[in-house]
């Protein structure tokens, strides 16, 4: 079977600074922060009391879930994922049929953990000896694949239905996995993306590691500072991003609007060797991942107009820039580089998918979104690529190719290349 070309025909997003493509797109252009202070975190003695939670309410949620679904429901990540996923499906011009299974469409929708609040609720019941009182949905809400299972049920997906998990590279990996499945001709459409719960039970472990900033509790909108000399750790976020990937053949046959083509990508791991560890990336592996992605996409590095970096606002930002520079071998012609986390924080398992949506919005609409909070650019980054490679205000620019990379705990890497359509 001939290899299929793969395009993006729909997108959906639930981000701390905007729910839905329109709101998120406006926030992205305006550099609007979705980071706020949470007294609830201070009350639990968190060092970092700022975070990003998507502005959802019961009315919005009831447009996607029935009252029966919401009975005893306490799994925010699944709610975020289903909203982003169903929005992407609708945005692609696809409908749902309540009686038919669509064997040509599947989903790979990732997460880190699922339903941590529900799990907590269940553990309290269990420890009181009340196992029989847990109700029927604890498993569905707390299994890692809960989000893909709910989405498949809503949309009648009959191809592969699964959930991937690769820490903070989850979302980017999901898109690559869906791309590969369509490319191989095993599916016509794949709903791909990722989601992450919010709140203390997800964020606590990072606070304990002191990798989240504790220096900006009084200035939440300034807290997430990728590439800044005053960066002091990441700001935790949450949400979901979703995309409908489709074979070019299928998209053209139904006259679908095409946002971009997925040219290719790569995932690998640094094996927690040569400087890599559970929490830090092996630089050689990061460089290899980017280089292999470029080869897979069949382009030359000089064709990349914009990079959407992983850039979390930890001490690793300068090293990431160095890795891009070494991989691209582009001398003084470094592409523009944008940090979406400056406005939404680090959405963990949801980061890759939300940031891929941000990447494709910039590509499709021809602009580079502002990277905020880096007015005091790290000198090492400035020396390496020049301050003008990072745009602090909205910049109109005809972009042809955008590269996106995400890195995660476990020393895992994922890199994708998107090309403007037409």
């Amino acid at each position: 079977m001939n290899e299929q070309r793969v395009v993006i025909t729909g997108m959906g997003v639930v981000a701390p600074n905007g729910v839905g493509l329109d709101a998120f797109s406006a926030a992205l252009k305006n550099g609007k922060s979705g980071i706020a202070y949470f007294q609830s975190l201070a009350d639990l003695n968190f060092s970092c009391c700022v975070g990003g939670i998507p502005p959802l309410n019961d009315k919005i949620i009831s447009n996607y879930f029935t009252p029966l679904h919401l009975r005893n429901f306490n799994s925010d990540g699944i709610i975020f994922g289903c909203i982003a996923g169903m929005d992407a499906w609708r945005d692609a011009g696809l409908t749902r049929d309540n009686n038919q299974v669509d064997f040509d469409s599947g989903t790979i929708f990732g997460t880190g953990t699922s339903g941590v609040e529900k799990f907590r609720e269940a553990i309290y019941q269990l420890d009181k000896g009340n196992v029989r009182r847990l109700g029927s949905t604890v498993v569905a809400q707390t299994m890692a694949s809960g989000v893909s299972a709910y989405l498949a049920g809503f949309l009648g997906l009959g191809n592969q239905v699964t959930t991937n998990s690769a820490a903070c590279a989850t979302g980017t990996e999901a898109i690559l996995l869906g791309y590969e499945r369509i490319k191989q001709g095993k599916a016509k459409r794949m709903l791909v993306g990722s989601c992450s719960d919010h709140g203390p039970y997800i964020w606590g472990g990072f606070d304990a590691m002191r990798v989240m900033t504790y220096k900006h509790n009084s200035t939440p909108e300034k807290a997430s500072r990728p590439m800044s000399a005053s960066a002091a750790g990441f700001v935790p976020g949450s949400g979901a991003g979703g995309m409908v990937l489709e074979s070019l053949e299928s998209a053209q046959a139904r006259g679908a609007r095409i946002y971009a083509e997925v040219l290719g990508g790569h995932v690998n791991s640094g094996g927690q060797r040569n400087g890599g560890s559970m929490t830090a990336p092996n630089p050689l592996a990061v460089q290899k991942c980017i280089k292999e992605a470029i080869v897979d996409a069949g382009i030359s590095a000089s064709e990349i107009d914009l990079i959407n970096g992983h850039l979390t606002a930890t001490s690793k930002d300068a090293e990431e820039i160095k890795n891009w520079q070494v991989s691209l071998q582009c001398g003084s012609n470094f592409p523009f580089i944008q940090s979406t986390k400056s406005t939404i924080g680090h959405c963990l398992a949801a980061a890759g998918s939300i940031e891929c949506v941000a990447s494709v919005l910039q590509l499709y609409n021809g602009y580079i979104a502002p990277s905020t909070n880096c007015e005091d650019l790290l000198p090492e980054i400035e020396q390496r690529i020049g301050a003008d490679r990072i745009t602090k205000i909205l910049t109109q620019r005809n972009l042809q190719i955008v590269a996106k990379a995400s890195f995660g705990f476990g020393d895992v890497n994922a890199c994708l290349l998107f090309k403007k359509w037409g």
């Binding site: 009252p67 029966l68 009975r71 005893n72 009182r133 109700g135 029927s136 949905t137």
Partner: protein, 82 residues
């Protein structure tokens, strides 16, 4: 509690779980939860928990197996609350 009160209370409890509205309109003692009312078998567990809360009773596993219709549920609840 009269049979009529009981069926009214049960109707209110099962309503959110019913997927066949027509069968719900004509709900009677002979209505089978799964086959007639099309309540998903996993949700039947939630119906039982709601019944326990409403009537302040405990339904044992063996009793649960026999609780297949509205009538059998009514009989079980009656013996528990009398």
């Amino acid at each position: 509690m009269t049979n009529e009160d009981l069926i009214t209370a049960l109707k209110k409890i099962v309503k959110p779980y019913v997927q066949d509205e027509l069968a719900f309109e004509t709900l009677g003692e002979e209505s089978d939860f799964i086959h007639d009312l099309k309540i998903n078998s996993a949700h039947l567990i939630d119906v039982v928990l709601d019944i326990e809360d409403h009537f302040d009773i405990t339904i044992e596993n063996e009793e649960l197996e026999k609780m297949v219709s509205v009538g059998s549920a009514m009989k079980l609840i009656s013996t528990k609350i009398s």
